[in-house]
Subunit: 116 residues, 2 copies
Amino acid sequence: MDVRELAADYAALVAAGKMDEAADKHWAEDVVTVEAMPGEMSRTAGKAEAQAKAQWWYDNHEIHAFRSEGPFVNGDSFLIVMDIDVTPKGGERMQMREVVGYRVADGKVVEERYYY
Amino acid sequence: MDVRELAADYAALVAAGKMDEAADKHWAEDVVTVEAMPGEMSRTAGKAEAQAKAQWWYDNHEIHAFRSEGPFVNGDSFLIVMDIDVTPKGGERMQMREVVGYRVADGKVVEERYYY
């Protein structure tokens, strides 16, 4: 599976709301995730830590609607634009719009990077 | 000027159609540009070569409308989403939607990368 094929499959799973399946299927064991902002979980290393961060996020946010667009591909990297209508636990409902970048090596996603 | 300030200024110039001014003001002398597709100008090195490529593009495309969104920032990088309603010389009018990534070092844009 080349980068453009992987990107298309990944983006289709995300568009269908199957983020977990996309991660299970395509993340490398040593995947790194990088948030735009500093903080406790601004950087994770390894699939288990990345999945724990994702689970924390799901446990602490109520998602009302989700839409994604992409992939946009260049070389070993691709981008997905995401719109999330969300209420953080104890917070105000908000419309998040962000771009998530993925870098591929040896047929697996080795880096996830949030831009906003 | 930190990355988020530079990104905001760059994106504002692009949104105003002032791509040349954004490049003049913010590109490093050794800026590298990387297209998504292979080809003669898939990679340029240096500001003069990058500006020559841009000039070639303007000379060979008629732009009917342009819209941009962003910046989306992470660390030393930022993204701008671009919509271009364009007719290539001798070709069919088309709607291009792409994301352009910029990497900053020492307060200057050192890399421009097209995703589509």
